[in-house]
């Protein structure tokens, strides 16, 4: 466990020194400040539109950040042999993989949190409201990106960044297309086995105040744990079979 945490800390330190999260926060500030100038702002719904656009931007920024960090992390470590010095010690391949995922997920989560703080500051200035409800959206985005990072890390154990990005995008698309792809109930109802990411679809309730129940939050956490677990398990098996 301590070795896994050491690897996670090293991943975080490396990302911070690459200044990737700072770029995201700067990007957040610029975008959040620009939201009130959008042309389709309607009278009386500005805060709601602000929240929706802010969450959408946060989602896109988090997705770009997740793929940028995760797609090439392991391939470059294998190619540059930095992994050799780690795996030749008393470190299991699963510790290496989980430590990497943990570190990357923590960086993405922290960046999304920083984005939220910037958005809150803009909201306070523009509307005199902290919009604490945004943090539910932040949690949802961070958990969904945890799943995407797990998929990216798992695929990257055996392939390069291009395949990783395509595979992750495919999972994202499939994950949000359950109703389209598997249809209704009855003999063809496969929805129970479907790797759905729909639990993370809470943008509208957060933006327009429909409410996010404890059950919805629990559902997000369970989907995060389940899908991340499956992806990481697959990654551990693939990495375990691989010659470095």
């Amino acid at each position: 466990m301590s070795r896994m945490l050491s690897i996670a800390r090293a991943v975080i330190a490396d990302c911070v020194r690459r200044r990737v999260p700072y770029v995201v926060v700067l990007f957040a500030g610029i975008l959040a400040a620009a939201i009130p100038s959008l042309p389709d702002y309607g009278v009386g719904v500005e805060p709601e539109v602000f929240r929706e656009v802010a969450l959408a931007l946060m989602y896109v920024a988090a997705l770009v950040l997740s793929l940028a960090l995760a797609a090439n992390r392991l391939p470059s470590e294998f190619e540059r042999r930095t992994a050799y010095s780690v795996l030749s010690k008393q470190v299991s391949r699963w510790e290496y993989l989980l430590g990497t995922w943990l570190g990357l997920s923590a960086v993405v989560a922290a960046s999304v949190a920083a984005f939220t703080i910037v958005v809150q500051a803009v909201a306070l200035i523009s509307y005199g409201d902290f919009m604490w409800v945004l943090w539910v959206g932040t949690l949802s985005i961070a958990l969904e990106m945890g799943v995407i990072v797990a998929v990216a890390v798992a695929v990257s154990t055996v392939s390069g960044p291009v395949v990783v990005v395509v595979a992750s995008a495919l999972i994202l698309f499939v994950g949000h297309s359950r109703s389209t792809l598997v249809g209704g109930a009855g003999a063809t109802d496969l929805s129970l086995f479907y790797p759905s990411l729909d639990s993370f679809n809470i943008m509208l309730p957060v933006a327009y105040g429909g409410g996010v129940s404890a059950l919805m939050v629990l559902s997000m956490v369970m989907v995060f744990v389940g899908l991340s677990g499956i992806a990481l398990l697959l990654g551990v098996v693939l990495l375990g079979k691989r010659d470095l």
Partner: protein, 314 residues
């Protein structure tokens, strides 16, 4: 039966890389067995593609063996637990560029199980030992190739491993750096550490190794004590000085004669040593040294590889 004093033991290592189609695959390593005694320096030699690095990678669990057993101090080294006595320097080591030397050694120290309160002291000590004093706060992106190599050696030994595997440790180092690494290896042996050294630098291997294994085409082509491999049976090398020319009696017996100033080096049959020494003495010369005649490792290596290519046993 396993010998009690084996630090490293490889039995029947075989690695077949699958190829596309129905062909049976290519054996990069085929039936390699090695045994390295505790507290010794063992050299692993061979031309490119001989299987050295694949053998080392199988030993430390980076490559899955097709067959064979790999033990370090009696434990399976392909499992993480079996590597707790091991330090490894990969060929041309790289590190995350945006961390400092101190942070790198802290990280590798934690992975190697160094106690938290001891890591900083150990890191500073090691940076000094490998010639990187004062670079604790330097970011690795500013390190030269040779400095990264030295840092690689530091990370390999930070956990005070009983067994150290070094893959081309002198690669990228200047002559002073190469000498430092040689001294470090001798120091490690002095402290009881076992070193398995894979190197292309035959002079380095010849200078420090107690035994060597020579791999060629995935198999062990020769293995033994460096003296056993290089000494030419029945011949003695003699070095004399103080003569303008060799006495006729010596000239008749001497082979491979070389002269530099008034120093002569030549070889004779062991049975002729007594008479040659007397003849040199009578002519007013002084015998500086008598030693078993030795082939250079370069010559031996080239001869072995050539004989393997032509299928002629050496």
């Amino acid at each position: 039966m396993e010998q009690a004093n084996s630090a490293i033991r490889v039995d029947g290592a075989r690695k077949v890389y699958k190829t596309v189609g129905r062909s049976p695959g290519r054996a990069a390593v085929d039936g390699v067995s090695l045994e390295v005694e505790q507290g010794s320096i063992h050299g692993l030699l061979g031309p490119n593609g001989a299987g050295k690095t694949t053998t080392l990678k199988m030993l430390i669990g980076l490559v899955k063996p097709t067959e064979g057993t790999f033990k370090i101090l009696g434990e399976d080294s392909t499992s993480p637990k079996g590597r707790r006595f091991l330090g490894f320097l990969p060929e041309q080591p790289y590190f995350p560029q945006h961390i400092t030397a101190m942070q790198a050694l802290r990280f590798y120290g934690q992975l190697a199980g160094v106690e938290k309160q001891d890591i900083d002291g150990r890191a500073v000590e090691l940076l000094g030992k490998v010639g990187l004093d004062g670079t604790e706060r330097t970011e690795l992106s500013k390190f030269s190739r040779g400095m990264l190599q030295r840092l690689g050696i530091a990370q390999a030994i930070i956990g005070r491993p009983a067994v150290v595997v070094l893959d081309e440790p002198a690669s990228g180092l200047d002559p002073v750096g190469q000498r430092d690494i040689r001294n470090l290896m001798l120091e490690l042996r002095e402290s009881g550490t076992t070193v398995l050294l894979s190197s292309h630098q035959l002079s380095e291997v010849e200078a420090v190794c107690d035994r060597v294994s020579i791999l060629n085409a995935g198999k062990v082509a020769a293995e033994g004590h460096i003296d056993e491999l290089l000494n030419i049976s029945g011949q003695t090398s003699i070095r004399v000085r103080g003569l303008d020319e060799l006495p006729a009696a010596v000239n008749a017996l001497a082979g491979d004669v070389a002269v530099s100033g008034s120093v002569w080096v030549f070889s004779v049959e062991d049975s002729a040593v007594r008479s040659v020494v007397d003849a040199v003495d009578d002519a007013g010369g002084a015998v500086m040294s008598l030693a078993p005649k030795r082939e250079s490792l370069e010559d031996y290596f080239a001869r072995l590889i050539a004989s393997a290519r032509t299928g002629v046993a050496s």
